[in-house]
């Protein structure tokens, strides 16, 4: 990284020391985000990072942009409100796999199909970090955890396949430990208008230390992968779940763009004129 970029990236670093455990993948995602923001030349004053609750959701505090650290699972609708209120802002949603696909899972398909122009970086550690290690919707079947002492009875959710099914306009997978790629994916995700989803492997060293395994398993998506083919992207998401890269990409009109167009097409209104429509009688002389 050029020195200049390093300085710019550093400018996104807030004074707050991350409370994460040593080795936590979230550090890597944070660093990649700093660099991506720098590369894109984001204006911290016009950038908002929205999160839910979880270790990973502490993220906004460590960045010098605006932040919204809301409640568990509601980052996406909150981010939509921010973006629609001011479409000039760059809005990034972040959080964990529990936040995103357990309690918050009901919002994901709607953010995707609305195609609101935000980028969602999900730090996936296949575990609930903050609450000390229970399984999440992405945890492996049979996995033992404090809440599954006899092994997890549930099949993990394939979040990439889910995103493709929701016709998410940009679906990618990165990893905290593959910094350059992750930086690029975040850059691409933010650049693309519409809803971009980046599933970022981000190991939890405290409760599900998959660092080694994931480093070994992760690999770049084959160059011949056709990201414009939705059915193909789905097949790849099933067949090659450890691949890093852009699985699917289909730019299309954004919600904020459509809303702007609607506003522009509309005649400016006034309350007085609307009241006229309800008038039942004018003043009459006594």
């Amino acid at each position: 990284m050029a020195d200049d970029l390093k300085i710019k990236a550093n400018a996104f670093k807030s004074d707050l020391r991350p409370i994460w455990c040593p080795g936590c993948g979230d550090f890597g995602v944070l660093a990649a985000a700093y660099r991506a923001f720098a590369e894109l030349g984001l204006d911290p004053d016009r950038t908002v990072i929205v999160s839910g609750i979880g270790c990973s959701s502490r993220f906004p505090g460590f960045v010098t942009t605006y932040g919204f650290h809301g409640v568990h699972g509601r980052a996406l609708p909150t981010a939509m409100g921010v973006k629609l209120a001011n479409p000039e802002l760059d809005v990034i949603a972040v959080g964990g796999d529990g936040d995103g696909f357990a309690i918050g899972g009901g919002h994901f398909p709607h953010a995707a199909r609305r195609n609101v122009d935000i980028t969602y970086v999900m730090m996936n550690n296949q575990i609930y970090g903050l609450t000390k290690g229970q399984v999440s919707p992405t945890s492996l079947q049979e996995q033992k955890s404090p809440s599954t002492p006899f092994g997890n009875v549930e099949e993990p959710l394939n979040v990439l396949a889910t995103a493709v099914a929701a016709d998410c306009s940009f679906v990618a997978q990165g990893a905290s430990f593959r910094s350059k790629e992750l930086t690029e994916l975040i850059v691409e995700g933010i650049r693309q208008p519409g809803f971009s989803f980046i599933d970022a492997f981000s190991p939890c060293t405290a409760f599900n230390n998959t660092t080694q395994e994931w480093k070994e398993g992760a690999h770049t998506l084959p160059a011949e992968h056709d990201a414009t083919d939705r059915a193909g992207a789905f097949a790849t998401a099933l067949a090659d779940p450890m691949a890093i890269g852009i699985f699917y990409r289909r730019p299309r009109p954004t919600l904020d763009g459509r809303v702007l167009a609607m506003q522009e097409a509309a005649e400016p209104g006034s309350v007085d004129e609307l009241l006229d429509g309800f008038a039942v009688a004018e003043k009459t002389a006594a």
């Binding site: 707050l16 911290p44 004053d45 016009r46 950038t47 908002v48 929205v50 502490r58 906004p60 505090g61 010098t64 942009t65 605006y66 932040g67 919204f68 650290h69 809301g70 409640v71 509601r74 996406l76 609708p77 909150t78 981010a79 939509m80 409100g81 921010v82 973006k83 629609l84 209120a85 001011n86 000039e88 802002l89 009901g106 919002h107 709607h110 809303v259 609607m262 506003q263 097409a265 509309a266 005649e267 400016p268 209104g269 309350v271 007085d272 609307l274 009241l275 309800f278 008038a279 039942v280 009688a281 004018e282 003043k283 009459t284 002389a285 006594a286």
Partner: protein, 589 residues
Amino acid sequence: MIRDDITVRLAGESGEGVISGGDILTTGAARTGYWALTFRTYPAEIKGGPCMYQVRVGVNEVHSQGNAVDLLLCFNQEAFDLHHHELAPDGHIVCDAESVKVTPAFESRCSEVPLGALAQEAGGSRRGKNMVAVGLVCGLLGIDTHKIEQMILKRYAHKGDVGEANIRSLLAGAGHARSQLPEGVHRLGPATAQEEERVLLSGNQAICLGALHAGLTYYAGYPITPASDILEWLAGRLPRFGGAAIQTEDEIAALASVLGASFAGKKAMTATSGPGLSLMAELVGLAGMAEIPAVIVDAQRSGPSTGMPTKTEQSDLNHALYGGHGEAPRVVMAPTSVADCFTVIVESFNAAERYQVPVIMLSDQSLSHRLETVHRPDPAEHEVVERLRPHGTVNGDYNRYEISADGISAMAVPGGGGAYVSTGIEHDEAGNPHYEPELHEAMMAKRFGKLDPLMRESRISFSGPDRADVGILGWGSTEGAAIEAAAICLDQGVKVSTCYPRVLGPLPVDRIGRWARGMDRIIVPELNVTGQFARVVRADTGLTVDSITKATGLPFTARQIADYVTDEVRPQDDSGVWEAGVTGEARVG
């Protein structure tokens, strides 16, 4: 007899034109210079089923739906069976000669008219029945049909001669009434001259208009009866104000996005009914903790759970005041009439923005959906407040949650400098997470203390003398009936005053306490079972009050409240001493 106001009820099967007939009658009467106030019930069926439309038409302003039905129009037998017992002793029934068999006891007060035949004859189609009915009402009451004819012409302008046919049916009805029906039926006095412009609005429409005036530009909501029409109305208008109305996947997403939009600097609102408000509990707490302005309209319906979704009730007060874990500040307001809906929604936005809190405004089904002629609101008379923003450009040292003297901290907005993290975690002045005991106590004190001025300054409407036999202390949509009840009581020699605070949380206890000193006894009427407001009053003011509750899904009539006062509360001797006690619950059928 010539009367100042008359209550008319049309009843039939959905699809027979009862609702459109009622709407035309109401609008026509209003355009003719009368005051009108409507009341409807809805069938349980999705389509079809019995329905009714009641309109009280007055020479002067009317404040409630009326006590008993003066003129009842029955389109079919079921309508007669369901409604005839609500007829006033001196009321009259007109029913369809072809389908209704009247019980002997009512024969003398009933006229039979072949609605379908008249419509067929005059307009060429039996479907014009409802126009015949409207004409009959106009003829009986003496309402000039001129304005109604104009309306019909306009409504069917593009439908060939449907308009003309309908007018013929209308006039046939009116003529029939004049020529064939008994003379003894009450007539309305002539409409008086209008000194001001008037509009005919529903409560929900008044809420929408007021919200637009207050500066609403972001609305998000999930459909639910009786709040859906707020979403629908705004969806068509907000783009014209540079705003947007979004239908979200649920109520949680609606409020989450409202908070996001408000954080980003917009005035934002959602509207729902009970089940949606329940789901919003966690996010109301976030708004309180993170100090984000937001307005939440709750058009209450009859609960609990899914309950009776098309019926009215005032039973979400507890949840509005106390719902949600932990202790997060909020403001709870309640409008008392359609006109007041406009005023209170503006006040709700003002409080939300001034105090940076969520404001829950409690309407109810009967208020949200009734039509009422009101003085045309003059937006210029309703001041609009903007939130405190940091002065000039902010750099470095901005403290979003500064513990200022009045507890209100300047709120930066993205794009305006002063980047910070808005958070539901306990935080220091800068917004960073902190759990120190002293800090938590200081922040809790800040968040609640900032509402103190509201407690002193919020609006209360009083009616009646400063010293009275009975004080009615109420909230929300019962005010009209309470004021009319006071008039009934005065006729019977009982002095009654009313007190309706618009802000129920924080309650203006001192001013209520002062008013209460002049009252020999206080009653709290409300449309629920447990007497929610009465409990709040007892807990917050220490006053001893009688709780009068009604939970039938229907609004109070003035007469019901008056009867309670004169039967139960009226002093039996001159000692002026009332039995003290915190109980004294009564149920009004």
